[in-house]
């Protein structure tokens, strides 16, 4: 027998292991996988199974709490299994089966060597992280098969032969491994290859020093739960961080290159960086690529390393391609470091807990009929009823997972704060595939939606999208993402120069804040972000409103109205006070567009921040200083902003206006008429009727009682009577 100590997901290990296995010619492969995964392993040869993939193992009874065991092409275990498959030798998973309960509690404090042995060694060798140290020491020494013996000796020295001075779980696992080994020997295998994590090597090479009985005693009486196992597609992004069983890797894309093109890795990596940067419009010629490679090589020599590592390549790329600017490299960092590869698993091989959870949720939300129907089904949900609320949550969660089973119907506003939602549900069989794909994000709909949402949040740089995501999260009831979401919002809000975006985001935030209040969910985050955004709007608004054309002014004007309402809904006195202060500045700043000036005056007047007499004087002043009637009309539109009551209740304003219209020369009047008409036609029917009377009889007369149906015609009449007054 021979023990091959590897590092999980180490491309150097994988390469070396393949070679070593070919040289050793084993007749059986013992591998550090939980016993019980055999039934999934028999599908290894399926042509549709392409790494990165993962073994998903979950308890039959409690299928939500499963764990993943991912493999990439460069994982040594994957290569070992491929070899075994080709040579048709048995693959025996030798690790403790899943679902064995080991009492973990009485672990006494371990020395640094024991808690993180590799980290300890790395430190001794002058490295700040063990990953890099392993890379430099073992992964890069490609051809040396003796490295396996070296690894074994090293761990043996580290463990000082004291095989039992370990956490209980490890002791049990190693006992199980030895048991598997004894069985393999008993079964008559002659050349047994054992592939396991480097740390376990001494426990296996010295198997004879421990009696079968003591191992069996150790394993006796352990309770075991029944586990299901399945293949699911994995991807580099998920491989790049810690998830479930086993450690993630820092740079899957780098490891893939290391595995495939070890000899030419610098060239491949740098050429790729050059190409990606060229796509981003950077000056990155092949000559640059050459220079960068030379620089990386020199740097490597200077640092006494056998081969350039990721650090050297990255530094060289930044220096040569990006003129020292890290931010430029950040544009391609994700593609260069993590990579975008996704694995494939034939549909028939997967049965994932997420599917089961989905089916269960459909059942309890009473959506099964809609699931079976091949036609579109319309459904109105009353969110006050728990079953229907859960249906709503499910549909919203599925939307997060990009499974649009239910689509919001037109006319259904889906406003937070209302209790009714109208959906149109249409199930497409493809959605089953999507659910399997979504299994990578979790074993329950909630968990998957949560993780997917986190990914979406990381992936967006738009405040507007974040606001939408926030809305989705609230509706799908995944409040766990709120802190992350608001942090990102805060970040973007701080960096955006676009005040309008902030103003667009505010109403939605305030709504969620209020709605959240109703549902007693965590609202402090929203309060914080609102209080963070609002001062920025106040500070930025004057310059946004200054020196702009009518069209953008109109946009800002609308946004200001929404902000106004949102702030009043939020109802925090000091913020409203600061808002009015901002409006005061806007109303008094000459360069601010007149439409906005007018509206600011109106808002201040409504809030009784301006006395009627003073307001009249102001209006007078605007009338006098406006060089052309056109300008005043803009001011007037803002000032009246959709409500004529102001004119009806303040005869002084009316008279001023009246006098003004009288003195406008005919040709100019024609040009402003459309704007006036737009302003006045926005008023309510009764308001216009009343004004017509005022225009006809002077403001002193009481208005006739009118009915609501009077509108467009009367407005026309009002205008025609104005025309009469002006003798046109």
């Amino acid at each position: 027998m021979k023990v091959f100590g590897i590092r999980h997901h180490g491309p150097g290990s994988a390469k070396r292991l393949s070679k070593a296995l070919r040289a050793y010619q084993p007749d059986c492969l013992l591998i550090e996988l939980p016993a019980g995964v055999e039934k999934a392993l028999k599908y290894l040869g399926e042509p549709g199974l392409k790494p990165p993939v993962a073994l998903l193992m979950y308890p039959v009874k409690d299928f939500q709490s499963g764990s993943f065991l991912p493999f990439a092409e460069f994982s040594p275990e994957w290569q070992a299994m491929k070899y075994a498959l080709k040579k048709e030798i048995p693959i025996i998973p030798m690790d403790l089966p899943m679902g064995i309960q080991i009492d973990q509690s009485p672990v006494r404090r371990l020395s640094a060597v024991r808690t993180d042995p590799l980290g300890h060694l790395a430190k001794l060798a002058g490295f700040d992280d063990s990953e890099r140290w392993w890379d430099v020491t073992f992964e890069q020494e490609e051809d040396d098969l003796a490295v396996f013996d070296m690894i074994e000796e090293m761990t043996l020295a580290l463990r000082e032969g004291a095989l039992f001075d370990e956490p209980p779980l490890n002791i049990a696992r190693e006992a199980y491994m030895r048991k598997a080994l004894r069985k393999a020997i008993k079964d008559g295998h002659q050349r047994i290859a054992i592939v396991c994590g480097a740390w376990h090597t001494p426990a296996l090479t010295q198997w004879e020093s421990i009696s079968a009985k003591s191992d069996n005693d150790r394993l006796r009486g352990l309770k075991k739960e029944k586990y299901e196992v399945s293949w699911i597609p994995w991807n580099y992004e998920r491989l790049s961080f810690y998830s479930g069983y086993g450690a993630g890797v820092v740079s899957p894309a780098w490891y893939e290159l290391l595995f495939r093109y070890r000899a030419s890795i610098s060239i491949r990596w740098m050429a790729r960086a050059g190409r990606l940067l060229r796509q981003k419009g950077q000056d990155a010629s092949p000559a640059h690529v050459l220079e960068a490679i030379r620089l990386a090589d020199t740097l490597t020599a200077l640092r006494d390393k056998p081969l350039p590592g990721l650090a050297e390549l990255e530094e060289a790329a930044i220096t040569v391609f990006c003129r020292g600017d890290r931010k430029l490299f950040d544009l391609i960092r994700k593609k260069m470091i993590i990579g975008q590869k996704s694995g494939k698993v034939p549909e028939k091989l997967t049965s994932v807990p997420l599917q089961k959870d989905f089916e269960q949720k459909v059942k309890s939300a009473r959506l099964s009929p809609a699931l079976k129907s091949s036609e579109a089904v319309k459904k109105e949900l009353d969110l006050r009823k728990p079953t229907q609320l859960s249906a709503s949550k499910l549909l919203h969660s599925l939307m997060i997972l990009d499974i649009p089973w239910g689509k919001p119907m037109k006319g259904s506003q889906f406003k937070t704060g209302t209790f009714s939602e109208k959906w149109k549900l249409k199930w497409v069989p493809d959605y089953y595939v999507k659910i399997v794909q979504a299994a990578i994000y979790g074993n329950t709909i909630e968990e998957a939606a949560l993780n997917k949402m986190k990914e979406k949040i990381q992936g967006t740089e738009s405040l507007q999208e974040l606001t939408e995501l926030m809305d989705q999260s609230i509706k799908a009831d995944v409040p766990e993402v709120i802190p992350e979401l608001t942090t990102k919002m805060q970040e973007l809000a701080a960096l955006t120069k676009d005040i309008l975006t902030l103003m667009e985001a505010l109403p939605a935030l305030v709504q969620v804040y209020k709605y959240g209040n109703q549902r007693n969910s965590e609202t402090q985050f929203f309060k914080d972000i609102i209080e963070e955004i609002v001062p920025r709007i106040f500070v930025g608004l004057p310059s946004v409103c200054s020196g702009i054309e009518e069209e953008p002014a109109r946009e800002v004007y609308k946004a200001m109205q929404r902000t106004h309402h949102a702030l009043h809904l939020f109802n925090q006195p000091d913020l409203i006070e600061a808002w009015l202060k901002t409006l005061r500045i806007l109303s008094n700043t000459k360069s601010v567009h007149l439409l906005i000036q007018g509206w600011s005056w109106r808002s201040l007047f409504d809030k009784q921040k301006v006395e009627p007499a003073a307001m009249e004087r102001t209006m007078q002043a605007y009338l006098v200083t406006s060089q052309a009637p056109m300008y005043f009309t803009q001011w007037l539109e803002g000032f009246l902003s959709g409500s004529g009551l102001l004119l009806i209740h303040n005869p002084g304003f009316w008279k001023l206006l009246d006098r003004w219209i009288r003195q406008i020369p005919e040709d100019q009047f024609k040009t402003i008429l459309p704007i006036l008409r737009r302003t006045f036609s926005a008023f309510q029917g009764p308001e216009r009727k009343k004004m017509l009377n005022m225009a006809r009889f002077g403001s002193g007369l009481p208005a006739e009682k009118t009915k609501d149906e009077i509108n467009e015609e009367l407005a026309e009449m009002a205008l025609s009577s104005v025309r009469k007054l002006l003798e046109i």
């Binding site: 200077l302 701080a494 001062p535 106040f538 310059s543």
Partner: protein, 362 residues
Amino acid sequence: MSEVLRPPVEVLYQEELELLKKADDRPKPPNWELSPWAVVHFLMGGKLGKGKEIEPKYFGDRRLIELAVSTLVTDRALLLTGIPGTAKTWVAENLSAAISGNSSLLVQGSAGLAEESLRYSWNYAQLIAKGPSEEALVPSPVLKAMQTGKMARVEELTRIPSDVQDTLITILSEKILPVPELNMQVSARKGFNLIATANDRDKGVNELSSALQRRFNTIVMPLPATLDEEVRIVQNRVEKIGQQLELPAQKSPVEEIRRLVTIFRELRSGRTEDGKNHLKSPSGTLSTAEAISVFQSGQALAAHFGDGQVKAEDLASSLTGVIVKEGDQDLQVWQEYLETVMKKRKGWQDFYDACSTWIGKK
């Protein structure tokens, strides 16, 4: 010690350089005095053999120096950029002293620099007496470096007019300098290379043409990494300058310096020191040098018109001036900072009041 106010690095650290040369058993590139490893060691400092110690010259990231030295090994010219006070010149000087044993082959860039300063000029007496000849040629520091295989230095590269900058293209790519008057060309000896420094955020500079840019590897020199480090630098300088200006002695106002440097660092990095809040950055460079000058003028105000203790009010005006440079945009950034960060910070009320009053005044 010599009478010179400040001797060049190779004289100042002669002993260390010799120690290194003795201990250095690694391969040296042609015409280098030390191996790349020893050069890095000279700059970063550390133990050497038994009991010998090399004084650190650069207190930043070792990887940066390794990158710089590697660049010079690969024959590419090195461009060090960064805002004032990031030790660009100091690093350039130390590198050339360690590599060539000579840090004086230097061209000081300026807007008035002529091509001759980068190429060669003539000794007119000789020229008239003997006609064009090699004896009449007066080589520039760059040409001298080419002839002797040493490091040439160009300070403030971006201040040199663009057409003059481009003189360097042939020198850097072909490693030759044609002298058409004598119908000859000077080919650089091995070991020749060029280290340039440039300020990347100043106004009124001449961007490098992309052709020239391609000849350089660029390293951006970072600002002091931690708040404490920067506070120490500012404090140190403020005290020294205070002595020179003979300002009345006062307690070292560390707390005020710390607050000032915090503002500078936060606005510069676009992030609060606790990393929680993101911020916009103003258009100015906000270098450590500017922080020093703000504090100094505050000190002068306090000494001559106040009670001698630097307070928020003394700093507000020049602080605002340093931050608000480009009018509205910067003002907005500064106001946002005041409203979203400073206002909420405990114990900063006086600073907030002083600064917002000052903006109100403007």
